[in-house]
């Protein structure tokens, strides 16, 4: 059966969204699904955003079927109630599962979340958490559109541009387990945000950008920052779009800003001799977010009270309040997150203690502008001429202005000339853009040329005499060139590599966001800044039949599918055999 909808799914770090557009209907608009979810115990309400949190209840809650939804009774709660529980019962709530997917120091298929949960809580893996969020969205879709089973639809799932091949593969794994069709497409989030902008019917994008423009997409959500550059060129009189660079995965977002303000307010309370307990601190965090929005609004007041209501029934009697001024809020947020600086400024790395906890690798420098300058400075010869914003943080004009002023300062432009006009909902744009892209792919709309966002390398140990205490130098063989196009295949020219049959072969695997090496290039000297190690690759070769030699000579072959999936193969040079390399995400200890 032919697909009747193009469905875009934004599996976000803090919120997930599903949007859909009917296929073959002229002038159809993109609709965002209202997702039934628990907003409180035993209370089901439909919301466009499904918070990506999962609450694992007590045995009593499970026994009483407290997580019942219109389509069944899952064993844990996903959504708004789980998000609230995350603040009040952190040891039983899974949060930030998506960021854990990129964390190569842990085994992402093992039940490790909630991180630091007590022993009696049945933990789940980051992959399973992602699967459950998707299952919830798919159940909501099935309930509202029983006539359009998901397996038959055109589905586009978004991932951060900064996700490496392993994180993409794990996302894909979770998606297939959740019931997405085999041929679903992975799309990078900043591109999806750009498609949402292109899809806007009230403005013609062809009038807003022109040949030679480079658009910097700056996406700052609740917990992550994602950066991408897209260039506009002309071919046969038509404008074509090409993604030219993506930034690193940066764990800084709006939540950090609210916490910084909460600390400011907490210090003010401490001056008054008021100590806040854990519950009040959470309430303060929310109150500070509201105060930030009030103070930073155009024509906002110069001071705003931050009030934490009494915990118990004495609401007024137990209330405590301090004032925050616009001036100090602006100063804390500007200095901490959007400091002006030169294009050469780099994120500050603080020395880390030897016994670093193995939690999420949060950034030690929260300055978004420094991450941005570092990213732009790495793109030699490419400078942004326009900026497109996405992510909840940029709902505030104040933050958009800070970024525009910084970029304008670096390139001698005016902030006004940089910002692309938009009127989209920053929380929903990625899902909407993904749905639009799914339709454009089927019905021949405008498309951004993407390709591999990174180049990839296989580590090969140099041969030589073993010297005690000396590690043999590692050389990097480029197997995937950056910008390799989707739907293409490459044989990697190299010396043959001997693989032992009947055993598991393991390769160290590396990636780079900045290097542009040709396939087959061997890199001998690279700094850790340029090339980073990701999870190892393994291939198990069945023992060769009939007493042949134990070593099979192979070369590498690489495919980047139309769906955005990277496949690496070992191809025998003496027979027709080939073996697919799989990512090994097991715990390295």
């Amino acid at each position: 059966m032919a697909a009747t909808f193009s469905i875009g799914i934004d599996l976000g770090t803090t919120n997930s969204v599903l949007a859909a557009i009917p296929l073959g209907v002229e002038g159809a608009s993109i609709e965002v699904l209202s997702v039934p979810q628990l907003t409180a115990p035993a209370t089901v309400e439909g919301r466009p955003l499904l918070p990506s949190f999962l609450y694992l209840g007590t045995p009593e809650e499970v026994a009483q079927d407290a997580f019942r939804l219109p389509w069944g009774s899952p064993s844990a709660a996903v959504g708004e109630w789980a998000r609230r529980q995350g603040a009040e019962v952190p040891t039983r709530t899974v949060s930030g599962a998506k960021s854990w997917l990129t964390h190569s120091r842990v085994d992402r298929r093992q039940p490790i979340l909630p991180w630091n949960a007590p022993a009696e809580v049945t933990k789940i893996s980051p992959v399973e958490a992602s699967r459950r969020y998707l299952e919830h969205l798919l159940s909501a879709w099935a309930q509202s559109h029983p006539e359009a089973p998901i397996q038959e639809q055109q589905v586009v799932l978004t991932v951060p541009a900064s996700f490496d091949a392993v994180a993409r593969e794990l996302t894909r794994e979770a998606a297939l387990q959740a019931g997405l069709p085999e041929n679903f497409i992975l799309l990078e989030e900043p591109q999806a945000a750009f498609y949402a902008w292109l899809a806007n019917p009230t403005q013609s994008w062809r009038k807003l950008v022109r040949e030679g423009d480079v658009v910097a997409i700056c996406d700052v959500g609740g917990g992550t920052t994602d950066l991408t550059l897209i260039s506009v060129a002309q071919e046969n009189g038509e404008l074509v779009l090409q993604r030219v660079a993506v930034g690193n995965h940066i764990l800084v977002g709006g939540d950090n800003m609210d916490l910084a303000l909460a600390q400011l307010a907490q210090a003010r309370f401490a001056e008054k001799g008021v100590a806040l307990d854990a519950w009040q601190s959470v309430a303060l965090w929310h109150a500070c977010r509201a105060a930030k929005e009030t103070l930073l609004a155009p024509d906002g007041p110069s001071t705003c009270p931050v009030t934490v209501l009494g915990r118990g029934r004495r609401l007024i009697g137990g209330s405590i309040s301090v004032d925050l001024t616009r001036e100090e809020v602006v100063s804390v947020l500007t200095e901490g997150f959007f400091p002006p600086g030169s294009l050469q400024a780099r994120p500050v790395r603080r020395p880390q203690s030897g016994f670093k906890e193995l939690g999420l690798p949060y950034e030690s420098d929260p300055a978004v502008t420094r991450h941005l300058s570092h990213f732009l400075n790495q793109q030699s010869g490419v400078r942004p001429t326009r900026v497109l914003f996405n992510g909840g943080v940029f709902k505030s004009e104040f933050f958009r202005r800070r970024v525009l002023e910084a970029v304008a300062g670096w390139y001698g432009a005016t902030p006004e000339s940089l910002e692309l006009p938009h009127n989209q909902d920053f929380d929903l744009a990625v899902a909407r853009g993904a749905a639009y892209y799914g339709r454009a792919k089927l019905e021949k709309g405008i498309r951004i040329r993407g390709g591999a966002p990174r180049s990839y390398y296989v580590g090969i140990e140099a041969t030589g005499l073993a010297i005690p205490g000396i590690v043999r130098p590692l050389r990097h063989l480029c197997v995937v060139p950056r910008d390799m196009e989707e739907g293409t295949e490459l044989d990697i020219p190299s010396d043959t590599i001997g693989l032992l049959t009947g055993e598991q072969a393991e390769f160290r695997f590396f990636s780079s966001l900045t290097r542009r090496d040709a396939p087959g290039t061997i890199v001998t000297h690279a700094t850790e800044d340029e090339i980073q190690e990701t999870s190892p690759l393994v291939a198990t070769l069945p023992a060769a039949a009939g007493g042949e030699t134990d070593f099979v000579p192979v070369r590498f072959q690489v495919r980047l599918t139309e769906l955005g999936v990277l496949e690496l193969w070992c191809v025998s040079t003496v027979s027709e055999d080939r073996w697919k390399l799989e990512f090994s995400v097991r715990d390295e200890g």
Binding site: P36, P41, A42, T43, V44, R68, W71, L309, L315
Partner: protein, 179 residues
Amino acid sequence: MRLFQAFRVFFRVLSDGEFAARVARAESPEVSTRPTPAAAPVPVTAPVKPASRRSEALTLLAVFQREGRLVDFLQEPIESYTDAQIGAAVREVHKGCRQVLERLFAPAPAVPTAEGAPLKVEQGYDPGRIRLTGQVSGTAPWQGTVAHPGWEAKRCDLPEWTGTPAAERVIAPAEIEIR
């Protein structure tokens, strides 16, 4: 009034199996105690039916308490507090309750005319939407001034409650902090 009753019956039939059976009995031409012939088995594709229901008024009250602390606020004796203390708390209560109101009901004026502006009330006006005050004499049309443009809920999206009968009257569960 009958229309409202019809809607009420309609929704209750949808949500309450026992009630639906009673309606079916009332509807059948010969109201008798004769057992109705067994209906063909219904395929079990219908969504899971909630085990119990409660008054939507309680569910709404629970939302206002949870997000705006409304019950705490109304139940607290306020005589001994200063206006400043009350004011600080009310801002928070107002913010939370207003978000609930906007989300669940999206209130909008009942007539599109601004407060204080003149409005002509035509013959056959809807008394459910427009209420006449002051010197109402003669017959329509009347010329008047909008003293209050009224409110109309643009939607009514109450959450669905799926709890157990034992907790039916609980507006807000007790919170016990485990240390």
